[in-house]
């Protein structure tokens, strides 16, 4: 194992940025789980709300994607 301390910082930082993806996972799980809970109570209304489901998932996911972006920037752009 060789290399300078800046590379080490890059790798550690990129790894730490990936923790943010866990938050996105929790968020997407909450959105989908709550949708399912609501949909099972009132299946007739569920079909019209799938668009809202995907919008909610997309917004929850966006912040995880930002952390992925930070990891990529640290690995390849710094």
């Amino acid at each position: 194992m060789e290399g300078n301390i800046a590379n080490m910082g890059q790798f550690i930082g990129a790894g730490m940025a990936c923790v943010g993806m866990g938050g996105a996972g929790i968020g997407v799980g909450l959105v989908a789980g709550n949708f399912l809970a609501g949909a099972l109570r009132n299946p007739a209304a569920a079909g019209e709300q799938t668009a809202t489901l995907f919008i909610g998932i997309a917004f929850a996911e966006a912040l995880g994607i930002f952390s992925f972006l930070v990891a990529l920037l640290l690995m390849f752009a710094v």
Binding site: A51, I55, F68
Partner: protein, 249 residues
């Protein structure tokens, strides 16, 4: 990046390199590159499906006509549901973007293909086009009243409204970033994961069937992600358009 790591020799990001199709010369904007080729193929695929599908106009649709009709009906309903009747004026653009991203995403799943939508340059252009046109539409339709989008009049106190206005302003300008990075990030991550698993299969030898089974499952997931991300991009375009058409909360 460290060169020549020990053990596994996987280069998951190599597949995203833009190369010249002919020779090894530098890539200028006019050089025929693999990105250009696969985006053109996506356009050709979409054109063939839609033109060939809508040519027969049979009363009982055949296969191609069913595909074209259901995609058209699906995106028409999506635009109408989210933006209302006024948004239908912008339906052709939204469907074009949707079909292009869908075509590019699905074509990228062919082994050896180039994932053009995994490049921020491609998705940022699409997202910026949406962002700028939505802002222009908002100001053109409502004038200065478009700024009501940032002023949450239903909030109880003025101090809270000011704080919310700052947050809304930030979230408005982050839109093109998240809009583009979501699509590019999802596609890039998916293809990189497939490549990493393929590298495992190459390294394991006799027990390679385990990663190959995993790749098969991941491939199914990626196919779903490709479709869902095209849908998400299109529906977020509708949501942003809806904000421009009906500002205020």
């Amino acid at each position: 990046m460290a060169e020549g790591g020990s053990g596994l020799n996987i280069h998951p990001m190599e597949q995203f390199e833009v190369r010249s199709l002919f020779g090894d010369g530098p890539v200028h904007w006019y050089t025929p590159s693999n990105a250009m080729l696969w985006m053109a193929l996506a356009v050709i695929l979409v054109s063939v499906v839609m033109v060939y599908g809508s040519r027969g106009r049979a009363l009982v649709p055949g296969r191609m006509q069913s595909i074209a009709e259901s995609i058209y009906g699906f995106s028409h309903k999506m635009v109408e549901d989210v933006t209302g009747k006024q948004g239908l004026k912008y339906f052709p653009y939204i469907m074009t973007v949707f079909m292009f991203i869908l075509g590019a995403n699905v074509l990228a799943l062919i082994p050896g293909a180039f994932a053009s939508t995994s490049h921020i340059a491609v998705t940022a252009l699409l997202a910026l086009a949406v962002f700028i046109s939505v802002t222009v539409i908002g100001f053109a339709r409502h004038g200065i009243g478009f700024l009501r989008l940032f002023w949450v009049a239903s909030a109880p106190t003025v101090a809270l409204r000011i704080i919310l206005a700052v947050i809304e302003l930030i979230s408005y300008f982050v839109r093109p970033l998240s809009h583009s990075v979501r699509l590019a990030g999802n596609m890039m991550a998916g293809h990189a994961v497939l490549k990493v698993f393929a590298g495992f299969a190459g390294a394991l030898g006799a027990v390679a069937f385990v990663p190959i089974l995993a790749i098969t499952a991941m491939y199914g997931l990626e196919l779903m992600v490709a479709v869902v991300q095209a849908y998400v991009f299109a529906i977020l375009t509708c949501v942003y358009l809806n904000d421009a058409l009906h500002p205020g909360h």
